[in-house]
Chain length 207, copies 2
C-alpha cells in the first residue's frame, strides 16, 4: 500500500486528493514542518530534497507533484484522472501541472522561503513584498489563458484540478481573494463539493 | 509538421534534441531574445507566458519543457524516449524532469531574471550572487541521488537526457566546471557523441 508523506495545506494536498479520487488504499504520514522534520536525516533518507510530497511505493519513493499525480492516474486507470491515450490532451495536462509547479508554486515560495535564493535579509524581504503581485499575475494568466472550465482541461476532470485547487487555497496568504478570478473561484467552489476533496481536507485537519 | 519556437542555448534545446532523436519532421522558429522578441505581442499570441519553448502542433500550441518532451515521446513512439508503459519508471522520468524545470532552471533564472521576483536592484544582485551556490547544490543532489548512469534513468535513454544535457551546459555561466560531478560530466560527453545532439547544436549555432 502506498504511503504519502504530507504536511497539511502544503502542495502534497494535490497528491492526497488524487489518491482519494482514485479510490486508492494508502497511508498518510505527516512530516511535521512545525518542527522542521523535513530537514531531519530521517526524512532526508526518504526524500533527500527535504520536501513533501513523497510517495513510498512497493518499488521505491517518488517525488515531485506532477510525477506523483501522473503515477496515481496511471496506477489507478479506472478513475480516469489523466487523458493518457491522447498525446495532445495529456500534454495540455502536463503543461498545466508544470506551470503550477515551476512558476506558481515558485512565486508563492518567494513569500516564505526566500532564503533559498538569497542570503541578505533585505533581499528576502524584497521577494516577500513582491510575491502577491507575482502570484496575482500567475492567476490572471491561468484565468485568461489556461483554465478552460468547468475543469482545468474543460469537461474532463483530471489531476490538474486538485493541483489548481491546492494552490488557489494559498491566495489568502497573499491577501488575494480568489473572487478576482471568476473561473478559478468557481472551480474552487466546485472542488469543495467533491467527496474526495472533503475527505482529504478533513484528514489533513485532524492528523 | 510541428514548429518549435526556440532560442539557441535556452531550455528549448531539450525539446529540439528530443525532436531530432524522435526522427520527427519539424520546423524551427527562432524567437530572438536579443531584441526581446519573446515579450512582443506577436509572440505573446503564440505563448502568452512570453517564453520558449513552444511547440505548434496541428491541434494547438504546447508549452513547458516537461510537457513537450513527453508529447514528443508519445507522438513518436518508435524512438522509445519515455517508458510510458511502466507507471513507476515513467514517474521517475517525470520526477527528474520536474526537478530540472521547477528547481534547477529556477535556480539558474535567479542569476539573470531576478526581476521576476523582486524590484529592488540590491535584491536582484543578492540573488545573482547566490545563484552559483544554489546551482551547485542542485547538481550535487542530482549527482548523488538522482542520476543513475550511463543515462539519467539507467540503461534506458529518455527525454531526461537532453534536458539534463541542456542545463549542464549552463554551469559555466555560474563559474562551475561540470567535472565536479563525475557522472553528469560523463553524461554530457556521452550526449555530445549522439548525432541528434550534434545536429541540434549545429542548427542552433547557425540559425
Amino acid at each position: 500500500m502506498p504511503t504519502l508523506y504530507y504536511y497539511p495545506g502544503a502542495c502534497s494536498r494535490a497528491s492526497h486528493i488524487a489518491l482519494r479520487e482514485a479510490g486508492a488504499d494508502f497511508e498518510l504520514q505527516l512530516v511535521d514542518f512545525a518542527r522542521a522534520e523535513q530537514r531531519e536525516d530521517a526524512f532526508k533518507s526518504v526524500n533527500p530534497k527535504g520536501r513533501v510530497p513523497a510517495l513510498r511505493t512497493e518499488r521505491g519513493i517518488l517525488t515531485e507533484t506532477p510525477a506523483i499525480l501522473t503515477y496515481v492516474a496511471q496506477r489507478y486507470p479506472e478513475a480516469q484522472l489523466a487523458p493518457m491515450s491522447d498525446a495532445y490532451e495529456f500534454a495540455r495536462l502536463q503543461s498545466f501541472n508544470s506551470y503550477l509547479c515551476a512558476t506558481v508554486h515558485v512565486a508563492h515560495a518567494h513569500s516564505r522561503r526566500g532564503e533559498r535564493w538569497a542570503d541578505d535579509p533585505a533581499a528576502i524581504e524584497a521577494m516577500k513584498s513582491k510575491a502577491p503581485e507575482v502570484m496575482a499575475a500567475c492567476f490572471t494568466l491561468m484565468e485568461e489563458d489556461l483554465v478552460t472550465g468547468p475543469w482545468v482541461l474543460g469537461d474532463t476532470y483530471s489531476t490538474a484540478d486538485p493541483y489548481l485547487f491546492t494552490l488557489t487555497q494559498w491566495l489568502p496568504a497573499h491577501g488575494i481573494d480568489s473572487v478576482r478570478y471568476p473561473k478559478i473561484h468557481a472551480h474552487h467552489a466546485r472542488m469543495l463539493e467533491r467527496p474526495a476533496v472533503q475527505a482529504a481536507l478533513q484528514a489533513e485537519a485532524s492528523p
